[in-house]
Every structure is written in structure tokens, then in C-alpha cells.
């Protein structure tokens, strides 16, 4: 193992050092090959992180989003996303990024007396209308998709 100080030109490694380094290299290269493949198993196809599908920022258009919550007394209240979170998060929610949608709905459930929270994304494209409904206490919102009729 090389020291942490400035070193002379590195010598050729011994067979034992080569084996050890080889194992580390194999693990690192193996991970780099496997991580992008996880995209094929992702439920959220908009999530292209660590896959090298694009070297540009994701450009999925945002949909029209509305959210509301229902209290234990049956009262319903509209939620203004723009007043609560940064516009970038609103865009993520509008694109239907599941991790962000779930986190947003869970966050609304933290308020007192909230029974359930609902979020609707209306898109003009093939994504159609998607409704996310979270009964407070749950971890993951129930998703309903209505594809747009053309």
C-alpha cells in the first residue's frame, strides 16, 4: 500500500499486491457496470440517475399539478405547492417522480388532523392523468393512472 506522503515513482507491484488490487478493481468496475442496469428494474422511468442515459439534465415536461388534503372531520383543503416548496420540487412533483411525490405527501401528513392527502398530475401527453393518494401513516401513495384519450 502506498504511503500517504509524496512518493517516488511507483515500483511494479508484487504478485500479492496485484491480487489485492485486482480484487478491488474488479469490485469497482463490476459496480459501475451493474448500477446503470438498475434502470431496467426501476418503476419510475423518469429516474435516469447514475445510468448515463443522457449527459444532459432530464427534460421531461412538467404537468399541471393540484393537491388537496382531507382532515379527520371530513373537511377538504386545497394545497398550494408553490407556496410550500421550491419551484424545482414542484417541477419534480409535476413530472411524477415517485420519490418526491411520496415525500411531499408524507410531509403534508405531518400536519395535525390530516387523514389523507391527494395529488393529481394532469398531462397533455401519453402520461395522461395520474392521481396519487396517501392515507396518513402509510409510506407509499396509491397511484391511479387514467391515460388520455386521443
Amino acid at each position: 500500500m502506498a504511503s500517504s506522503e509524496t512518493e517516488p515513482p511507483p515500483a511494479h507491484p508484487s504478485p500479492k499486491a496485484r491480487r489485492r488490487t485486482g480484487a478491488l478493481i474488479a469490485a469497482f468496475v463490476g459496480l459501475q457496470f451493474l448500477i446503470p442496469l438498475t434502470y431496467l428494474t426501476r418503476e419510475d422511468t423518469g429516474d435516469e440517475r447514475f445510468t448515463w442515459r443522457s449527459l444532459n439534465a432530464p427534460t421531461a415536461p412538467s404537468c399541471e399539478t393540484s393537491a388537496s388534503l382531507e382532515r379527520f372531520d371530513g373537511q377538504r383543503e386545497a394545497i398550494s405547492l408553490q407556496k410550500l416548496i421550491h419551484q424545482d420540487w414542484v417541477d419534480y412533483v409535476g413530472q411524477g417522480r415517485r420519490a418526491v411525490v411520496d415525500a411531499f405527501l408524507r410531509k403534508q401528513c405531518e400536519a395535525d388532523g390530516v387523514l389523507q392527502v391527494e395529488l393529481v398530475n394532469r398531462c397533455d401527453d401519453e402520461r395522461g392523468t395520474r392521481e396519487y393518494n396517501l392515507r396518513c401513516g402509510g409510506e407509499r401513495a396509491h397511484e391511479t393512472v387514467r391515460t388520455a384519450t386521443r
Binding site: 502506498a2 500517504s4 506522503e5 509524496t6 512518493e7 517516488p8 515513482p9 511507483p10 515500483a11 511494479h12 507491484p13 496485484r18 488490487t21 485486482g22 478493481i25 469497482f28 468496475v29 459501475q32 457496470f33 446503470p36 435516469e48 440517475r49 447514475f50 445510468t51 448515463w52 442515459r53 443522457s54 449527459l55 444532459n56 439534465a57 432530464p58 408553490q82 407556496k83 410550500l84 416548496i85 421550491h86 419551484q87 424545482d88 420540487w89 419534480y92 417522480r97 420519490a99 418526491v100 415525500a103 411531499f104 410531509k107
Partner: protein
């Protein structure tokens, strides 16, 4: 050696890892200050955050935290590019940079993940001095540096997947695939037993340069990748002479004085000078006027103290002074970069716009006052 071992452990011109490490670290410093810091006002808004990894989800990074991490990472990275890098410092840069982007999905720039992979490779690079990489003779020193080959293979894997996804979608994929092959081949070009590769490798540079000039990409990725391509593909004598020219002032400074001169009686002076420097350098950040930056720079000084460790008192040489000077250089560069660019203006303007949108008028007024002060 088996063929696979020959691939990973064959000779590499030391000029390449030397220049690669410094080029990426220096560019990373300015990238964090000019491109990432202006985005800082988004963090912590509405106490809402989703991290890249689930184990971070309960943590909500504030603006000050994000900017502090970026200041820490940038200053430490530049100080390592300016003077002999230290492995512990590279580990800290890798950790700081990764923490910076991974703490929130607000930073979903694809190449930030690539830079983390590069920094992991750098941790295992030999910490070469200019004298070791560029000997006095015109012969380029060579050595077995598997982490450098790993760096090239990491780059090749990125191009491989860019090509593979393009092919899966029926798009043209030959250019990124050519880049992938070029990096796999170029990592072997310094080997004495493969003279033909020395002729071919520089020509292969055209593939990554063309790809990054013409394909749409985000941020400074083309600058990183074209610079890296120059270091990896340039013929050995050229890269050696470029490196010799760039390091000439540093080498003449070190070679001009003997490492052993001035011993015990000067140790105390060096110790006190270094300590004063470590305290004074972060003070430069007081003039930056962005939240978290002072803390970030102070933490960099503490990290530098940790990096120097015993060297600070027990090395009767000028090395600690150079290290502190490199920290000074990093802090000064941060101050000059932030004050001469639109970083501060963009940060405060974004903050004002967002606060207005959310109806937080007090915050909007505070942000707008600062934005007006720093308007270009």
C-alpha cells in the same frame, strides 16, 4: 503476468496521472464555486428535501450547509492542485463533493456522479511530486499505476452506456462507442512493448473531442472531458514537455534549495508561521458574504492541520509552509472568483424570486437587498 494483469499493471508515463489529478481538482474547485454555489438558495426551502440515497432522507440540508460543503470542497481541492496532494485530503475532497450533490435531488447533474467516481480513483493515485513525474532528463519516467488505468476504464464504461442506451433507442451510437474503445486502448500507449499504439492513440483523441463538442451536455462536462482527453491521448514526449514547462517554477524552487537545509533551529519558526497561516487563511472568506462559506473555509484549515499532522512540528523543512500557502491560494481564489463573477448575485436573486413566489416577503426583501448590492 497474465494478459489481464499486463493490462492493469503495465507502464504509464507519470506525467499523465500527475497532470490529470491536478487538472480535475483545479477545475472541480471553480466548477463548485461558479456553477453549484449559485444554486444554493434552493436548499432548505420549506424544510423539504429528498436525497439521492434513502439513508439521507431525514436530513434537510440548508443553504448554509450546502454552500459550506462546496466552499470546503473547492478550497481543499484547489489547495491540493497547487501543492503536492495528500491522500487524506483527496479522501476529504471526494467525501465533501459527494456529500454536496448526493444530499438532495436538487442537484441531479449526471457528471457530478462521474466526478465522484474519478475522485475515488484519485484516492489511489500515487501522490507524485513534480520532481518524480518530470525528471531532469528528457526521458519521461514511467511506472505501474493501476488506478490511472481504472480511471480510463471508468471513462470508457460511461461512453459504453451512452452508446448502449442510444443503440437501444435506435439512435446513432458509433461515436460514443469509438470513445469507449479509444480510452481502453489509450491507457496502454506508454508501454515499450506496444510501439504501434503510440502512433494510433493520439489520433483516437478526435473521438472524445468531437463527441463533447457536438453532443448536448450539461455544465462544464465538455471542458472536463476534452481536458482529460488531452492528458490521456497526447503523445508521451508532448505530455512530458507540457508538464515540464508547467512545473518548471515549482521544480526550480524546490531543486534550488536543499530539502535538508536549515534544520532544528528553524523548526519553531516554521511551526509558528504555519499555525498563523492556518488561522489567517480562512479569514479571507469573511469578505465572501454568503452563508456557510466562513465555516467551510475554517473546516478546510482544520482539515489541512489534520493532513499535515506531525509534519507541522516534526519536519524541519518548508513543506508545512508551502501547504499553508496552498490553503491561502485556495481561499484567495474562492474570494476572487466569487467577487468577480455573478455567483453571489445569482444566489441572492434566485433566493429573492423563490421567496416572492412563496409569499415570504421578509426573506425576499433580504435577498433582494443583497442581490442589488452585488448586481453586475
Amino acid at each position: 503476468m497474465k494478459p489481464l494483469e499486463r493490462y492493469w499493471f503495465g507502464d504509464v508515463a507519470l506525467a499523465r496521472p500527475y497532470l490529470l489529478l491536478r487538472f480535475v481538482l483545479a477545475l472541480l474547485a471553480f466548477d463548485t464555486w461558479l456553477n453549484m454555489m449559485p444554486q444554493g438558495a434552493k436548499y432548505g426551502v420549506g424544510a423539504f428535501n429528498v436525497a439521492h440515497f434513502p439513508w439521507f432522507d431525514t436530513f434537510i440540508p440548508s443553504s448554509a450547509f450546502y454552500l459550506g460543503v462546496l466552499a470546503f470542497t473547492g478550497v481543499l481541492a484547489l489547495s491540493q492542485a497547487l501543492y503536492r496532494p495528500h491522500r487524506i485530503a483527496i479522501v476529504l475532497v471526494a467525501a465533501g463533493y459527494t456529500l454536496g450533490w448526493s444530499c438532495s435531488l436538487l442537484d441531479s447533474v449526471p457528471y457530478h456522479y462521474l466526478l465522484t467516481l474519478y475522485l475515488v480513483c484519485f484516492v489511489f493515485f500515487p501522490m507524485l511530486s513534480a520532481r518524480a513525474a518530470f525528471s531532469r532528463s528528457d526521458r519521461a519516467p514511467r511506472g505501474s499505476i493501476a488506478p490511472y488505468v481504472l480511471f480510463c476504464v471508468t471513462t470508457a464504461i460511461v461512453y459504453f452506456y451512452v452508446a448502449a442506451w442510444a443503440a437501444a433507442e435506435g439512435q446513432s451510437y458509433w461515436l460514443p462507442m469509438a470513445c469507449c474503445a479509444a480510452y481502453l486502448i489509450a491507457s496502454m500507449q506508454d508501454r515499450a512493448e506496444l510501439p504501434a499504439l503510440r502512433m494510433v492513440a493520439p489520433v483516437l483523441m478526435a473521438a472524445p473531442v468531437a463527441f463533447h463538442l457536438f453532443a448536448p451536455q450539461q455544465g462544464w462536462l465538455p471542458i472536463y472531458m476534452i481536458g482529460i482527453a488531452f492528458v490521456v491521448f497526447m503523445p508521451t514526449p508532448w505530455i512530458h514537455s507540457v508538464g515540464r514547462t508547467l512545473t518548471q517554477p515549482a521544480r526550480s524552487l524546490v531543486e534550488g534549495r536543499s530539502e535538508e537545509d536549515g534544520t532544528d533551529e528553524r523548526a519553531a519558526q516554521v511551526f509558528y508561521m504555519s499555525l498563523v497561516g492556518l488561522v489567517v487563511a480562512p479569514m479571507v472568506s469573511m469578505f465572501v458574504d454568503m452563508p456557510g462559506v466562513k465555516t467551510g473555509c475554517t473546516l478546510t484549515a482544520i482539515a489541512m492541520l489534520f493532513v499535515m499532522g506531525r509534519q507541522l512540528y516534526f519536519t524541519p523543512r518548508w513543506r508545512p509552509v508551502w501547504r499553508v500557502a496552498s490553503l491561502f491560494g485556495g481561499c484567495l481564489a474562492l474570494w476572487i472568483t466569487v467577487t468577480t463573477s455573478t455567483t453571489r448575485f445569482d444566489y441572492y436573486r434566485e433566493g429573492a424570486l423563490d421567496a416572492d413566489r412563496r409569499g415570504d416577503h421578509d426573506a425576499a426583501m433580504m435577498f433582494r437587498e443583497k442581490a442589488d448590492r452585488y448586481a453586475p
